[in-house]
């Protein structure tokens, strides 16, 4: 009960903080887009010259003539009434544009997150507890994996597993859940290679350190079985730094997904974000940024809750 109460308090605090963070970041993104070079009308018109009337019409429709602050307030007012605005480029409500893409990106994130964390911990365990030779191989491979940029990984994976072997599709996100998972296997591997290798290295060090600690030696001296020692004493203690790194790595995945989505022809949020930033489609950029920030906050909250579970001291301190 006590721990539950603490968790509720933590969630409450985090949600309040999250709302402020969302507001702040929306303002920062809006300003960044406002300052970025390029005239919105040029993007709207695809570069051709337009009549004065046409320009006036568009300016009015998209509030382009209003001041920076007025436009922000206008946008914010819309958000509070559930209206995220209309895409300048696609001329449809942002919700219509984002709807079909959110599911794809969320699935990709979840799959890539799982591969990153599970893969990372496996590498860590092998490297941290294995013999010198095994350790060398695991760390060597993780160095290679970390050095490969995700777009190169994507190209290699497509060439080997989709074109040569024909096991997986070359592009697209698929239709229906099973097909979507199948389509996203290669992309999630391409996306998580670097992160998994990074977590693997951190995990290897933490596991090694935990394995050399006095309490593990004590446990060993008391004759506890090796498996129990690893699970209860080594892994559990090594999990705190691993969790920290995993949280940050996951946030990084969101940004890297842009590259992977492009390589695999997946029309997710990342691809749309790139397109929208380049064309100053501010309503879309705002909405996606807020979604990404919200996603990040959820992960962060998850990490904090996990800390409480892993480290009883944090429970008492109320995070």
């Amino acid at each position: 009960v006590r721990a539950g109460g603490d968790a509720a308090k933590l969630v409450g605090k985090q949600v309040a903080g999250a709302l402020i963070a969302l507001l702040l970041s929306s303002f920062v993104v809006f300003s960044a887009l406002y300052i970025a070079p390029g005239n919105t009308l040029t993007f709207l018109s695809g570069g051709r010259q337009m009549s004065k009337q046409a320009v006036a019409q568009l300016s009015q429709e998209y509030h382009l003539e209003e001041s920076f602050f007025a436009r922000y307030v206008h946008w914010l007012g819309g958000v509070f009434s559930g209206d995220f605005g209309k895409s300048l480029v696609h001329k449809v409500p942002v919700g219509t544009l984002l709807g079909p893409r959110v599911g794809t990106t969320v699935l990709l994130m979840v799959m890539a997150g799982l591969v990153t964390i599970v893969g990372g911990i496996l590498v860590g365990v092998v490297a941290g507890l294995g013999r010198k030779r095994t350790r060398g191989i695991a760390l060597g491979l993780s160095t290679v994996a970390m050095a490969i940029p995700s777009f190169v990984a994507a190209t290699l994976l497509i060439a080997i597993f989709a074109v040569d072997l024909g096991w997986f599709p070359v592009f697209g996100a698929g239709k229906g859940f099973g097909d979507q998972v199948y389509h996203l296997i290669l992309p999630s591997i391409a996306l998580s290679l670097g992160g998994a290798a990074y977590i693997g290295r951190i995990a290897a060090v933490s596991i090694e350190r935990a394995a050399d600690s006095e309490y593990v030696e004590t446990a060993r001296a008391r004759g506890l079985p090796r498996r129990a020692i690893v699970r209860r004493h080594v892994l559990r203690n090594a999990m705190v730094p691993i969790t920290t790194v995993a949280g940050i790595t996951f946030a990084g995945l969101i940004a890297t997904s842009v590259v992977v989505e492009s390589a695999f022809g997946i029309n997710g949020l990342g691809a749309l974000l790139v397109e929208s930033v380049l064309s100053h489609d501010f309503a879309v950029v705002q909405a996606i940024s807020l979604l990404l920030v919200a996603g990040f906050l959820v992960v962060n909250l998850g990490v904090d809750l996990l800390y409480m579970r892993l480290d009883p001291r944090l429970r008492r301190a109320g995070a």
């Binding site: 219509t96 592009f171 790139v274 064309s279």
Partner: protein
Amino acid sequence: MAVLILAVVAGALLLAACGSSGGSSSSGGGSTSSSSTSGSAPESGGGAELVNTTPAGSGPVESVSWDLPYGEPATLDYIEAAAFSENTVLSNVCESLIHLTPEFGYEPGLAKTYKEVSPTEYVYDLRPGLKFSDGDAVTAEDVVFSLERNRDAKLGSFWEPWFANVKSIVATGKDQVTVKLTKPDVMFNQFLATAAGVVAEKSFVEKAGKKFGTSEGGVMCVGPYKIDKWTPGKEISIVANPDYWGPQPQTKEIDFQFLTNQETTTQALETGEIDGAYEAPPSSWESLSSSSAGTAYAGNSTAYVSLSFTEKEGPVQEVDFRRAMEYLIDREAVAETIFHGAAEPIRSTFFPTTWGYAQSVYEKAYESLPDVQADPAEAEKLAGEVKGLKTVTMLTNADDAAAKQLAAYIQSQAKEVGIDIELKELPAAQYIADAFEPEGRNRYDMILSTTGYLDLAEPVEWGEIALSGGGVFNDFGYDDASVNKWVQEAREATDPTERAELMVKVQEQAYGKDVVEVPIVNSAERLFMNSSISGATPTLTPLLYAPWASELGAAG
């Protein structure tokens, strides 16, 4: 925590800025004269075997997946549709009054006949019993409404310049529309063979309002296909239209994909996951040409690659410098190594494919233009004449592998003769935004463009929009009184030979003497079709303005 969040957002923005999205730009094209179906096949330049057709499909096909390498169309409203993706889809669902034949000629489209009553009056008679894809009858009123949308300044139609001399558009019968011009203008009628001549249903357009042409609002026109489903970010499906006036297409459904990554597109074509695509990447042209998955066709095209100059003060304002740039580029080598043979060296923007009429006049003048071969010594000599020549900047499209290769080649050639070129590579959307706006453009000295094309086989188009003072695509700010006058006279010249004679004078002045830009190659349309299908039109721009999928079917 807030700092971390901002870092993530900033990271996403940064990544976005380095990332890419497809895009294309178009420029206007020429037209042919007056009324009838006088189009003749332009000659292909030389070595490469260019085609105007592919073997017609010989059997039914359920569905075909087709890639749009420049990404999802921004709109399917015909007044704004003036880019590759938009028109590739639109031409099958929204037909024009006049059709562009695969050979760049003209033939009746929705208009059964089109007559030039006088140089200032045209009469269009609709095919009897025409129906929109919702089954409603097409009336003269719909035609008037559709054409008038191009003239409405508030709507900002891309095609507006070609309606500048229109006096009135009136329904003169149940199935007849008469257009009067304020003065003779050979461009008006020809442009009705582009998306400017599309007929949309008045009641539908009015009801859809601002949503017309979007994924939500859709379109309502006449064509062998109609839109079945447009899922933003995923695909556009078009299906055979049972109410079509002509023969039913053999392919029942076409699913357009928005795959913009060149490597992925190539791999999807080679594995057969995608059945066909126009504008296949030049970098994969060799592997696609030898692929067992299908056939690669190089079609005649009005697309060209050129190095253009801006209005920025500095060396580019001196003809010696521009001429020096011309001497630096080995066009044959560019055609062979960067475009893998799917391109021809050109001497001016009025290259053979654009000679829609009076070919002998154009040919003779073209042959008399200096055939500038790469000559670094000459370039160095000319550059030596230019005062204060230091570093010059060149803008290119970072998402276009061929453009990047070409830019690097020009840069290295220039370096050998002591000219420093600084490359500015921007993602497609940013590149287009900068290149088409004077303020953005004039930050650079030169622009390397690989995506321009003329809409029609008519040099007057380029004369009007790029070589005349104040033209929409006149990057260089070129404003020569004689050229301006000749172009206007050509626009009024209903006699093809007279028109051609005026345009070759323009060519001699603008390209021969003033080097307003450095034309490099005429790139072929690169079409790839899976071995199971055949029949798509391989020529640009006919594929953008007439239903290219009409003949698409099972390979024989």
